[in-house]
Symmetry: C2
Subunit: 223 residues, 2 copies
């Protein structure tokens, strides 16, 4: 009947195998009874929200791992459907301008991307106090294309990055980027990932949300 139970069981067993754990070990990490885990893996039981969260946290895997169709058996059909590709030529993309930054969202023709790549030009040049630090769900990676920047974060000393250097950070921690010195602007690539990026129905929503989250007082002047 319930092919759903089978799905969950398959996923859990795959994850457990990949992590090379026994049921007892999973139970210890997640606080879920061994008997429960056994029944789940044998499709005799499903799970509730609470237990799914416990599993995800205890095993340190993304929650979506439990809702995926078997990744070891690539579904040719589905693959063809999702064989997407998008090219961004120079200056291609959606430009969102704010007083301190110019955001160029690239590869915007694809929606429902897991990652959002942005080419950001930073004009803000002094440490004049930022109203609030940027803060949003997920993680981001940045690479300095041109110039030198200062990265201010909530829990670390400001760090200076030169061309060719990069940083990876949790976006939930407040953060802000400035040019390191002098009046020159700097340019970085910024790739953001949030587990719920898929929520955004369209790119416009996303750009709007991101712009809104950035810094108080900054109003995106969409062109």
């Amino acid at each position: 009947m319930s092919t759903r139970k089978a799905m969950l069981g398959q996923a859990l067993r795959a994850i457990r195998r990949r992590l090379d754990l026994t049921l007892t070990e999973v139970a210890a990490r997640t606080g879920i009874a061994v008997s429960t885990l056994s029944k789940v893996e044998n499709s005799q039981l499903s799970l509730t929200y609470d237990k799914l969260v416990q599993l995800s946290e205890g095993l340190e895997v993304d929650i979506s791992a439990f809702f995926e169709t078997d990744p070891t058996v690539p579904d040719r059909l589905h693959q063809a459907v999702t064989a997407r590709r998008s090219i961004a030529r120079k200056n291609d993309g959606l430009l969102v301008q704010t007083p301190n930054y110019d955001y160029l969202y690239v590869c915007t023709e694809l929606t429902h991307k897991a990652m959002v790549p942005i080419i950001t030009t930073i004009r803000a040049r002094s440490i004049v106090e930022f109203p609030t630090l940027s803060r949003h769900a997920g993680e981001e990676f940045l690479y300095v294309l041109r110039g030198r920047i200062m990265v201010h974060t909530e829990y670390y000393e400001p760090a200076e990055l030169g061309t060719g250097e990069s940083m990876y950070l949790d976006s939930t921690m407040g953060h802000a980027f400035l040019t390191a010195m002098g009046p020159k602007s700097a340019q970085i690539i910024n790739v953001c990932h949030s587990p719920n990026v898929g929520h955004f129905r369209s790119l416009l929503d996303l750009a709007r949300a991101q712009a809104g989250e950035l810094l108080d007082g900054e109003k995106p002047a969409t062109t």
Copy 2:
């Protein structure tokens, strides 16, 4: 008690509001009783796996949507725990060399990253037939730092990208990168995301897996 129920209720209500739907409409789309939905939103009830899938499919939202802590109410405690940051200076990182590519994995001190950033130097210069195209779960973004490259993919004509141009693609589709012309090498940034990246326990596992997935016959000569 169960702060989990509150989490779910909050998430569901937020999603329903965003989609501008009534409980009845959600019920119609998902096949879940109105009473159930009401109780969920009021934190009187949790949900099982099956119902979560029904919701996700019926509302056409990513499953992870229901597992997000409300971004408008940042949990200071949990936030501090995940306030990670990693800086990569020039030539910092784990170098994995193959005949055609040099992969420099950056920000490797952080494990369990949602994204894997790699600075790739491409030496392969001719269209001499590749044994197999690279193919792995997830999506990736690439940006050309230096030189010109040709991107070969399974379902598209080869595309040429110059410095400053970028591409976003589904990694499940076969793909390979070459330098566009002449003997000069090219350099790109490559950011990979896979829903299962969290599974990799250590960076070594990841590098090994990625290298293994790349091209048959290429053996990573770890330094």
